[in-house]
C-alpha cells in the first residue's frame, strides 16, 4: 500500500495471539476501526488491554473509536534486519504515535510512505490498514498534511 521509500512489513511477523482482552482491538482493526482501550470505570488508558486497571482494580474496558489521526511522538529508523524476515523491509520506521483525539493513547506502529531521513518528531500521520489476511489487519500510519500543535514548535 503506502510505502514510497520503505519496504512493506512481513506478514510472518503479523501473526496475532489475541486473548479475550486484546481481541476487541484486532476485531476493530478488521473493520478498519482504531479502537482505544479505556477503563470503563475511570477512563484511564489501559495498554496493553487487560483485566485490571492500576487505579480501579478489576474493571472492564470501554473501547472508544479514534479518527486515527495523530503525531509522531518518537521514532527510530531500523536499517539493519535483526530478524531474517525483515531483510526485505529495511529501512523501515518504527514510531510511537499519539492520537489527536486521544492524546493520552500512544501506539507503537510503523510510519510508511515517507523518506526516513526527513521524518521528524511532530510529523502528522494518519492510520492505514495493512490487510495481511482475512483475520489479520494491522494499523500502520502514513504522513498526514494537516498541521498540528506539536509540529508548530518543531524545527524542520
Amino acid at each position: 500500500m503506502n510505502s514510497e521509500t520503505t519496504g512493506s512489513m512481513p506478514a510472518s511477523l503479523a501473526q496475532l495471539h489475541p486473548d479475550v482482552w486484546t481481541e476487541p482491538f484486532w476485531a476493530g482493526a478488521r473493520d478498519q476501526k482504531l479502537l482505544v482501550p479505556c477503563c470503563a470505570s475511570c477512563d484511564l488508558i489501559r495498554m496493553p488491554p487487560g483485566p485490571f486497571c492500576p487505579t480501579c482494580g478489576p474493571a472492564p474496558i470501554a473501547w472508544t473509536e479514534s479518527a486515527g489521526i495523530g503525531v509522531v511522538h518518537t521514532f527510530t529508523v531500523v536499517r539493519q534486519a535483526f530478524h531474517s524476515d525483515l531483510r526485505g523491509a529495511i529501512p523501515f520506521v518504527v514510531a510511537v504515535v499519539a492520537l489527536n483525539d486521544h492524546p493520552a493513547f500512544r501506539l507503537v506502529t510503523n510510519v510508511t510512505g515517507i523518506d526516513p531521513d526527513r521524518l521528524r518528531i511532530g510529523q502528522g500521520v494518519e492510520v492505514w490498514w495493512d490487510e495481511i489476511d482475512e483475520q489479520t489487519v494491522i494499523p500502520r500510519f502514513s504522513p498526514h498534511t494537516e498541521p498540528n500543535e506539536e509540529c508548530a514548535h518543531e524545527p524542520a
Binding site: I45, T74, S84, L86
Partner: protein, 394 residues
C-alpha cells in the same frame, strides 16, 4: 529505607575466564566456563568449594543443580535468580547480601556465563535467545511492527530525549570514545584500537539515532564473585569490598514495553532507572557527588547518558553538558565512568565485567586505577523490571 544490609556483607572473591568474541569460547561448555570462574573466585578468596553454599543469580540464571554437582558443593542453602536480563546484574549482589545478612547462607556465588554460539542476544528469533520468547497477546502490539530487538525501544527513548533537551550524537560519541580509551589499556579488551570521532560519525546507522559504535560488543565468557558476611570477610585473604546499598526494581506502571509508549516524558525519555537510583541513595550514606567511580551498564552508549541523569549526577536533560569537558574520562575527570572499557569496548557479559572492575577499583588493583577510590556505583539496565544498582565501598 531499610538499612539492614548496609555494609554487613562483602565481596571476598573474584574469578573470571578469558573474554572471547561471540561464539569463540567453544569448545568450552557453559558449565565449564562458569565452574572455572567460580573456582577462581573461591581461590581468590581463600575459600574451598565446600565452603560455598549459595547462589544469587540474574538474567534467568543457571541450572544450579548441575553447577553445584559439577563443582562439588556439598549443600546448597540458598539459590535465587532475578528475572529479566542484565538489568539485574548489580541487584544480584543485593540478593547475595540479603541471603548472607539473613543467615540463610554463608558464602554466596554470583556468576554469569555467556556463550553466544547457537544464538545472538540482540537478534530476534534465534533458538535459545532470551529474546526468542513466545509471542503473546502483549507482544502483538510490538512484533508486527518489526520491534524485535532491545535497541528499538531504547533508540526511541533517546530520540525523544534529543528532541526535548537538545542532546546530540556528539554526546553519544563522547561515551563511545572515552570508553574505548579505557579499554585499549587493558589486555582483556576485545577492542584494542583507538576510536576517533571521525570513525564514530562515519559508522553505519543501525537503528537511528544509534550507530554501530553505540552498540555493545557480543562476547563469551564468565565472571564470578563470592559474597559473605562482613565479619567473615575480615578473616579472608583479600580486602573486603562491602555491599553498602542495593536497589532492585523500577517504575511499576510503565515498565512493560507496550505500557512504556504511554508513559510521560519523565519516564519515556529516561534511562528508566530514576526510582532505583533514588532508593539506592536514600538507603546509603552517600550522595551522587560522593561516588568516586561509576560502572554504568552500557548495552548502548546513549543509555549511559540517560542513567547519569537518573542516578542524580546531573539534572534531567543535562547529561550532554555533563559529559563535555572530559568529566567522565579516566584519570582526570571528576567521575570516571566505565574505567574497564565497558560493554562497548572491553567485553559484554551482561554487567559482570562492571562488577569485576568495581571490585578491582576498590582493591586498588585496577588497570585504570582511580587513585583513592572509596565508593563505586554499579548499575544494571535500562530494561523492563528489574533495573538494579549497588554502591560498593572499601
Amino acid at each position: 529505607m531499610d538499612r539492614s544490609i548496609s555494609d554487613k556483607a562483602a565481596i571476598v572473591g573474584l574469578g573470571f575466564t578469558d573474554y572471547f568474541r561471540r561464539g569463540q569460547s567453544v569448545p568450552l561448555t557453559p558449565t565449564e566456563l562458569a565452574g572455572n570462574a567460580i573456582t577462581a573466585a573461591a581461590k581468590d578468596a581463600g575459600l574451598r568449594i565446600r565452603d560455598l553454599d549459595g547462589f544469587a543469580l540474574y538474567a534467568g540464571g543457571l541450572n544450579t543443580a548441575i553447577l553445584a554437582q559439577s563443582i562439588g558443593m556439598p549443600e546448597v542453602r540458598f539459590t535465587a535468580t532475578l528475572p529479566g536480563g542484565g538489568g539485574g546484574s548489580a541487584g544480584a549482589l543485593g540478593l547475595a547480601a540479603a541471603a548472607v545478612t539473613s543467615g540463610m547462607a554463608e558464602a554466596v556465588i554470583t556468576v554469569l556465563v555467556l556463550q553466544q554460539a547457537g544464538y545472538r542476544l540482540g537478534q530476534a528469533g534465534g533458538t535459545g535467545s532470551p529474546y526468542a520468547k513466545d509471542a503473546t497477546a502483549e507482544t502483538d502490539f510490538s512484533i508486527p511492527f518489526g520491534v524485535v530487538s532491545p535497541a528499538h525501544k531504547f533508540a526511541m527513548a533517546f530520540q525523544r530525549h534529543m528532541h526535548l533537551y537538545g542532546t546530540t550524537r556528539e554526546h553519544c560519541a563522547e561515551i563511545a570514545i572515552s570508553t574505548r580509551a579505557n579499554a585499549i589499556r587493558r589486555s582483556t579488551s576485545i577492542m584494542k584500537e583507538d576510536l576517533t570521532k571521525d570513525q564514530y560519525f562515519a559508522s553505519r546507522m543501525i537503528s537511528d539515532p544509534f550507530c554501530l559504535f553505540d552498540y555493545c560488543l557480543e562476547s563469551d565468557g564468565a565472571v564470578a564473585v563470592i559474597t559473605t558476611s562482613a565479619e567473615r570477610a575480615r578473616d579472608l585473604d583479600k580486602p573486603p569490598v562491602y555491599i553498602h546499598a542495593a536497589a532492585i526494581g523500577g517504575e511499576g506502571l510503565h515498565s512493560p514495553p507496550t505500557a512504556w509508549a504511554n508513559s510521560p516524558d519523565t519516564y519515556l525519555a529516561s534511562g528508566a532507572s530514576r526510582q532505583v537510583g533514588q532508593r539506592l541513595f536514600e538507603g546509603s550514606d552517600f550522595r551522587p557527588e560522593d561516588i568516586d567511580v561509576a560502572q554504568i551498564y552500557d548495552h548502548f552508549a546513549p543509555m549511559v547518558l540517560l542513567q547519569l541523569e537518573d542516578y542524580g549526577f546531573c539534572g534531567r536533560g543535562e547529561a550532554g553538558d555533563f559529559v563535555n569537558d572530559g568529566r567522565i574520562r579516566w584519570p582526570n575527570g571528576a567521575l570516571p565512568v566505565n574505567t574497564h572499557g565497558g560493554h562497548l569496548s572491553e567485553a559484554y557479559l551482561m554487567g559482570m565485567t562492571h562488577i569485576r572492575e568495581a571490585v578491582e577499583q576498590l582493591r586498588g588493583t585496577a588497570t585504570n586505577q582511580v587513585v583513592g577510590a572509596d565508593t563505586v556505583l554499579v548499575t544494571g539496565g535500562p530494561a523492563s523490571i528489574p533495573m538494579s544498582a549497588v554502591i560498593l565501598r572499601r
